[in-house]
């Protein structure tokens, strides 16, 4: 086995802060062959809180929003700002797949402008694959592995609804991006289809009055939902830039005040269930007594168990239950 397909070696490199291990780590977690799945579990084990003795130090940030909201342009500006702060950044951009052929066009990195010589920025595009809306197992695993090495790990997804909810489950800070005049987001928020974001961004502040009133409506909606702590930030990600510094501050403030430990524990449990589901499908879930029962059961497990361990426990439980 080459060092580039050895999960433990890659995990150790990431733990040592070797950012150049990122591409091979992603190749590994995306690989569905039986041998790679074993190595992928080794990588997760090597980068788990149990192995490193504390929660990974990288800030996991979700950036979601409907198509055309200006996520990539915003991300371009955010990445530049983080880099000028000296923070290393990984971006996992999740694109929807073409249902017909299984192939997909991963166009998002095109719009994130970076210096190609900068070794502390890593961008990876991933197809959502066969997952219905939700996050691919590889994205969860990749985010966990990279968060031991990078200062900031962003998961970018398109759309609101299932994918947005899944991202909210994985990250420490969930940023939702909307453009002025997108009333659907307001409706989603009010109806509870969409989880309350940690930070809400209204793009295209250069539009002036429209952007201002969008911001006002969203703030009012959030207040009526009791989500007073959610900051609403207006930005313009095209020249002249505005609001980026404020947005970064809001994201940092949220993280500083967030209870990261329990949030990540919850994320690991959902991650294990997602991995189990990807492998065993609906019949596996039935053997566990359904999603709710499975989650409740996971909640009773030792907090220190890593994702591969939790997945193994689920498999044992399913076998016992069926």
């Amino acid at each position: 086995m080459s060092d580039l397909t050895d999960g433990a070696t890659l995990g150790a490199r990431l733990r040592a802060g070797d950012l150049s291990a990122a591409p091979a780590a992603l190749n590994l977690v995306e690989n569905r062959s039986p041998a790679s799945r074993v190595e992928s579990a080794n990588l997760l084990r090597e980068t788990s809180p149990a192995a490193i003795g504390h929660d990974a130090t990288g800030h996991l940030i979700g950036v979601t929003g409907p198509p055309g909201a200006g996520k990539s342009t915003l991300l371009s500006a955010l990445v530049a700002a983080w880099r000028s702060d000296g923070r290393s950044v990984a971006v996992l951009a999740v694109d929807p797949s073409s249902k017909r052929s299984g192939g997909s066009l991963l166009g998002d990195r095109a719009r994130i402008v970076v210096d190609p010589g900068d070794s502390e920025i890593f961008i990876r595009s991933t197809a959502a694959g066969e997952q219905l809306g939700g996050l691919a197992p590889a994205t969860r695993a990749g985010a966990q592995a990279l968060s031991v090495a990078f200062d900031v790990v962003v998961i970018e997804t398109v759309g609101v609804g299932q994918s947005e909810t899944d991202v909210a489950d994985v990250v420490d800070t969930n940023v939702v991006v909307v453009q002025p005049g997108s009333g659907d987001v307001l409706q989603f928020l009010k109806s509870g289809i969409m989880e309350t974001p940690d930070v809400l961004v209204v793009t295209k502040a250069d539009l002036g009055q429209v952007a201002l009133s969008a911001r006002r409506d969203l703030s009012a909606a959030l207040r009526s939902l009791g989500a007073r702590q959610t900051e609403v930030i207006s930005v313009s990600a095209i020249a002249p830039l505005s609001g980026i510094v404020e947005l970064i501050a809001a994201i940092d403030t949220h993280w500083a005040g967030a209870d990261v430990g329990p949030r990540r524990l919850q994320a690991r449990r959902r991650h294990a269930l997602a991995d189990f589901l990807a492998e065993h499908g609906a019949s596996g879930l039935r053997a566990l007594g359904g999603r709710r029962t499975a989650m409740a059961w996971l909640d009773e497990q030792e907090p220190g168990v890593d994702v591969p361990g939790l997945t193994a426990l689920l498999e044992a439980q399913a076998t016992a239950g069926s």
Partner: protein, 647 residues
């Protein structure tokens, strides 16, 4: 007016070429600029590598413009400049060159192409985002209408839309929507009383394909729509000012690499589309060379195209009659049909908020139309003689000379251009240049000021093309145009793809993850149709495709390939800079520890294929490889071999 689109290598060599063409009976100039000049980079910029002097002449400053036009009387000349993002700058240099000849700007005649929307949609030589680009155009129009009144400040190009796959209806509708966007922008910057004069200065640059009867109808429709727009939207009362004025370059998209001699008859027939009926006859005509799909044409190839026009004009009786289609039921029917389609499409663009807002919509529509065209050629529904039918051929004596029947630009050109640029910077008044650029920057920030004035001052002071552009990039920001591929819908002829799709699944299964390809366009070449179609087809056969659009450096491509973990890299180049850029990309990939195979597509002369293979390229595809599915089969097999996946 008869002219040939020309320019290459250096200002001095191009000047020699122009004087030669004028001596042969050409009646105007048509300047082709190289890609660094068109996109606003100096020869010493990283992105200019391999592109200096390739598809046109490099003009870096007023000294280059002086050399380029040396001995050509500018008060008598009608000069067409194919320049867009940097049009304001090149016009300023032209005005300064005229000053130096003692010719007042009010006497200058000619055209700057200056159509930025089609750069986002098709040609790719944009420099700034849409809003400031539209302001640059509006400023130029506002300036020329009073100071350079005989100048056509903008030439709305439907030409490149057809090259990108536009149907006749799309060509009419998108061009007219584009014109509306420009005129509306100008309206905000000039007095309303000047609008009829502005309207009358807008000319068009259209395409003519080989279906020349329908193409002629298209031009009649454009005339009708333009007349209505002038009357109803801009209040132009004088019918003469509402006349649809256009120049033509006939179709390049349909020119083939296979049996290239057939292109001569295609060019002749396409020329008929724009000359047959007097009511919709072109003002200026330029014809491509028969060997354009092979590489850069030589002076002799261009002479041939010039002679075609002269035979049409001086030997045939085409110019002796009034409009020969007047009263034709067939022509009237075609016109009515296209007119209805175009009006509907113009309304859709308007619903998107106008042409600027509809760039993404139009781009995706063009990618779709082009895909349909390729599908029809692949399936044989559309006959292309020598390419998908009647393909047997004798050896051609036209392409058997040592260079393969094309012009090869001296590799020293770039080195010399860099040295000349350094020398220019050495000799100029640095303080004057930086003061002029500061003024330019201040004006750019002030929406109400006209940017032409500090631009002309910067040209006089000795600033360079790259400096002018960089100053504005800092104010306006940079921009990446939509690629259109993400929105492209699924394939139509699904059955044809089943076999290859199964093979992609099988190989992906063996690899453990889905076969992933990076499609990249290194360099400044913005002709992205080929890359877009490869990207869409790769997706349709089941691959994960990373496509980042145009204008990438070797370092950017290498970084993407490494980070994305792609199994294969496909590069596309049409500008002739493959000899420099492809080996540079391969080196950058290997330096980034990417050992995935590289394939190349583009206008690659046979003579260069061996060199590319020696540089580490696994396969080379040229315009004769029109069967995209066959290319996909090759790529899948290549990836399988590279990863020891059994057949």
């Amino acid at each position: 007016m008869i002219r040939t689109y020309a320019g290459h290598s250096t200002a001095a060599k191009s000047n020699e070429l122009y004087r030669g063409n004028l001596a042969k009976g050409q009646t105007g100039l048509s300047i082709a600029f190289d890609l660094p000049t068109q996109t606003g980079y100096d020869a010493d910029h990283e992105l200019a590598r391999g592109e200096v002097g390739k598809v046109g002449v490099p003009v870096a400053h007023s000294g280059d413009m002086r050399t380029l036009l040396d001995g050509i009387p500018l008060d008598e000349m009608n000069t067409s400049m194919t320049i867009n993002a940097t049009a304001a700058w090149l016009l300023a240099l032209y005005i300064v060159a005229a000053e130096e000849q003692g010719v007042d700007q009010s006497l200058l005649q000619g055209t700057t192409q200056n159509d930025i929307l089609k750069e986002y949609l098709s040609r790719g030589t944009y420099a700034f985002p849409p809003a400031p680009s539209m302001r640059l155009i509006a400023d130029m129009v506002a300036y020329t209408v009073s100071e350079v009144p005989k100048w056509n400040p903008i030439n709305i190009c439907s030409y490149h839309l057809q090259e990108a796959g536009a149907t006749p209806v799309q060509e009419i509708a998108f061009a007219m929507s584009n014109a509306i966007a420009v005129l509306d922008a100008v309206r905000e910057r000039v007095d309303e009383s000047l609008m009829p004069q502005v309207f009358s200065r807008i000319s068009f640059f259209v395409n003519a394909g080989v279906r020349f009867i329908e193409e002629h109808a298209k031009l009649r429709v454009m005339g009708i729509v333009w007349d209505e727009l002038g009357r109803d939207r801009y209040g132009v009362t004088d019918p003469a000012a509402r006349r649809f004025r256009y120049g033509v370059q006939v179709n390049s998209l349909g020119l083939t690499e296979a049996q290239p001699e057939n292109n001569v008859q295609r060019i002749v027939l396409e020329a008929l589309a724009v000359t047959l009926g007097r009511n919709a006859r072109a003002r200026a005509l330029q014809l491509p060379a028969w060997n354009e799909a092979l590489g850069l044409p030589r002076p002799w190839d261009q002479q041939w195209s010039l002679r075609i026009q002269q035979v049409l004009a001086f030997e045939t009786d085409i110019l002796e009659y009034p409009d020969i289609f007047e009263g034709s039921i067939v022509m009237d029917g075609l016109v009515a049909e296209l007119l209805e389609g175009a009006r509907a499409e113009i309304a859709i663009v308007a619903e998107h908020g106008g042409a600027v807002e509809a760039v993404s919509y139009m781009k995706a529509a063009l990618v779709d139309s082009h895909r349909e065209r390729i599908r029809r050629i692949e399936s044989g529904d559309l006959t292309v003689v020598g390419q998908n039918r009647f393909t047997e051929t004798e050896d051609s004596p036209l392409t058997t000379d040592s260079e393969g029947g094309i012009l090869v630009v001296d590799a020293e050109t770039e080195t010399q251009a860099k040295a000349a640029l350094a020398d220019w910077r050495e000799r100029r008044d640095e303080a004057a240049v930086s003061a002029a650029l500061d003024q330019l920057s201040a004006t750019a920030r002030d929406e109400s000021a006209n940017i032409m004035i500090p631009t002309i001052a910067a040209a006089r002071a000795g600033a360079t093309t790259g400096e002018w552009s960089q100053t504005l990039r800092e104010v306006f920001g940079e921009y990446r145009a939509p690629t259109g591929v993400g929105e492209a819908s699924g394939p139509i002829g699904d059955d044809d793809l089943r076999e290859i799709r199964d093979e992609v699944e099988r190989v992906s299964g063996a690899l453990g993850r889905r076969l992933k390809i990076l499609v990249g366009k290194p360099g400044l070449d913005g002709h992205s149709n080929g890359a877009e179609q490869i990207a869409v087809r790769a997706r349709d056969v089941g691959m994960d495709v990373v496509y980042e659009g145009i204008r990438l450096t070797p370092a950017q491509i290498a970084a993407s390939a490494a980070q994305e973990g792609v199994h294969v890299i496909g590069l596309s180049i049409l500008s002739g800079s493959h000899r420099e850029l492809i080996p540079a990309v391969v080196d950058a990939l290997r330096a980034a520890d990417v050992d995935s195979p590289v394939v190349v597509g583009g206008i690659i002369p046979d003579a260069d294929v061996t060199a590319l293979r020696n540089a580490g390229v696994a396969a080379v595809y040229t315009p004769k490889d029109f069967d995209l599915t066959a290319i996909m089969r090759d790529i899948v097999a290549l990836v399988a071999r590279h990863n020891d996946v059994p057949a």
